[in-house]
Amino acid sequence: MTPEMKGFILVSVVKLVVVFTFVMILVAYATLLERWIAAWIQDRVGPNRAGPKGLFQPLADGLKNILKEEVIPGGASKVLFVIAPAISLMAALMIPLTIPWAAPIPLEFDVTLPLLGRIVHHGSTAAAVTVLPIGFLYVLAVSSVGVYGIALGGWASNNKYSLMGGLRATAQMVSYEVAMGLSVIPVLLLVGNVSFVEIVTAQQQGPFGWLVLPLGLSAFIFLVSGFAETNRVPFDMPESESELVAGYHTEYSAMKFSAFMIAEFAAMVTISMMFTTLFLGGWDIPGTHWDEAGGMAQFLLTAVVFFTKCLLFLFLFMWVRWTLPRFRYDQLMALGWKVLIPMGLAYVLFVAVAVWVVDGPLGVTSVAARSGLLFLFNVPVLAFVFRVLDRGRLIRGSSIRSPAPAPRRARAA
């Protein structure tokens, strides 16, 4: 094995461990954050017993879940019951590996270690465990495998509520995957590549570089489908307590239940990372090209910027959870199939035409002017969708509603 090969393997393993540890810690503290935010929104104190200000709460929860009794219900399909949470967790943890979370790390070393021998690494390495040429196709593919965990968990439990939860989850995730896929196509049209690195590079140019500006509607569809994909409120049909006890994880206890929870939070982290990378410029620091120079300071600062953006989205997820009521199941499906998918399709057409107009007849060559023009084209579209088509049904919230139909008069006996 050449020293370069050893260097590559060593760097990859270190990155793998770092990303895994970081995601697990983020997930653990996201559970605490969720409870703090819930407490804050509902004006209560929240967890404050374990450690200073309740900071050790995730640790206590983890320990409790490991020590609790594992129950496998009678009549359950044992093998599937055990592997279902594993599938969920595996899929959720495989995704963050490919998302670049900072500027490339400059790494130059040539050392000789005992046992390992000479290890060499030249140039810089991407701040993701691996950079795949298929970029977010990998993310879509792996997250579609994650559905199996939920579906099989629901089926294997031998419980009708679990089964219903599993069925709902499957239908919901498959439906919203289509909407999510459609919402990403405009990004492809603009960037011309599926790789995350290329997408981030494209967004570093010009004042309107961040794709949320020239592709506002796409970002909106992606965000809504993201909520549905992660089974979060207001789309947490699969585990709606009032109807299905706890949905697909009704029968799960101890660490297996915990695995499902970790998978859900990891999926949330992933969607935040995806949104940040696709629409918010990834690790780009706005208004400066200093971050593209490459260097240790750049790496550290862009990492901080990336995770700040992610945390904003995590906060949004939790904010929405404690603010909005749950959709009804048919409303959820209608929103997916009758609103988001046609809207996504129409938007793909619109962006294709807009890109053609900007590149062709108008002949704009500067990248900044191109995205600026697209942003201008988008303003009327956004206004049209949210003002005219919506007519205050979805966007304006539950407090402003068309008057309820008059109650039917009781028939005289």
């Binding site: 040429p133 990998y138 879509l140 579609s144 199996y148």
Partner: protein, 184 residues
């Protein structure tokens, strides 16, 4: 190394396909089929076609098999007794099995040299001769990206077959809707 992984994936694909066929439980069979699909995706990856691998997982594992499992869960199929009952059905099954078996045996007679001969007209087995376009494909992937290398030919050289296929799919969808829904 790559060969070993390829062989391992092939073994997994074949074994899980066999398990899929011999399972009594419909859901277990579907899950073995999922494993087959994943192994196939892995083989595509080893062959240097990451885009096809991603699409394989996305479409077959993520959509089609999920729908299969969805239907199986909806119908709540348990361990099913064999559907092959009665002399008529048995006769049909026998004919199908023997026919397929005979055809497979004929295919088993193929050796690499004969395959290469039918592909290129020579018995030269070197990859450069058999897959003469491999180098072109590799260069295309480098210059156009992995998606562009597939999309380019699909929307230029093979545009008509591609569109005809989508028409076929549309016809199939309409047929399914008409069959499933009496009142539209």
């Amino acid at each position: 190394m790559a060969d070993t992984i390829f062989m391992a994936l092939g073994t997994i694909a074949v074994l899980s396909a066999l398990f899929c066929v011999f399972q009594r439980n419909a859901l277990a069979a579907a899950i073995w089929l999922v494993l087959t699909m994943l192994a196939l995706a892995g083989m595509f990856l080893i062959l240097g076609a990451p885009f096809i691998a991603a699409i394989q997982v996305l479409v077959y594992t993520g959509a089609i098999m999920v729908l299969f499992i969805f239907v199986i869960m909806l119908l709540n199929l348990g361990d099913a007794a064999s559907d092959i009952r009665g002399p008529g059905v048995k006769a049909i099954a026998l004919v199908l099995a023997v026919g397929t078996g005979a055809y497979l045996l004929r295919l088993a007679g193929y050796d690499p040299a004969r395959l290469a001969f039918e592909l290129t007209g020579t018995t030269d087995l070197s990859p450069a001769a058999v897959f003469a376009t491999a180098e072109v494909a590799r260069q295309a992937a480098e210059t156009q990206g992995v998606v562009g290398a597939v999309a380019g030919p699909l929307f230029s050289t093979y545009l008509v077959p591609f569109e005809v296929t989508s028409l076929l799919l549309l016809a199939a969808i309409i047929g399914a809707v008409v069959l499933a829904k009496r009142k539209i």
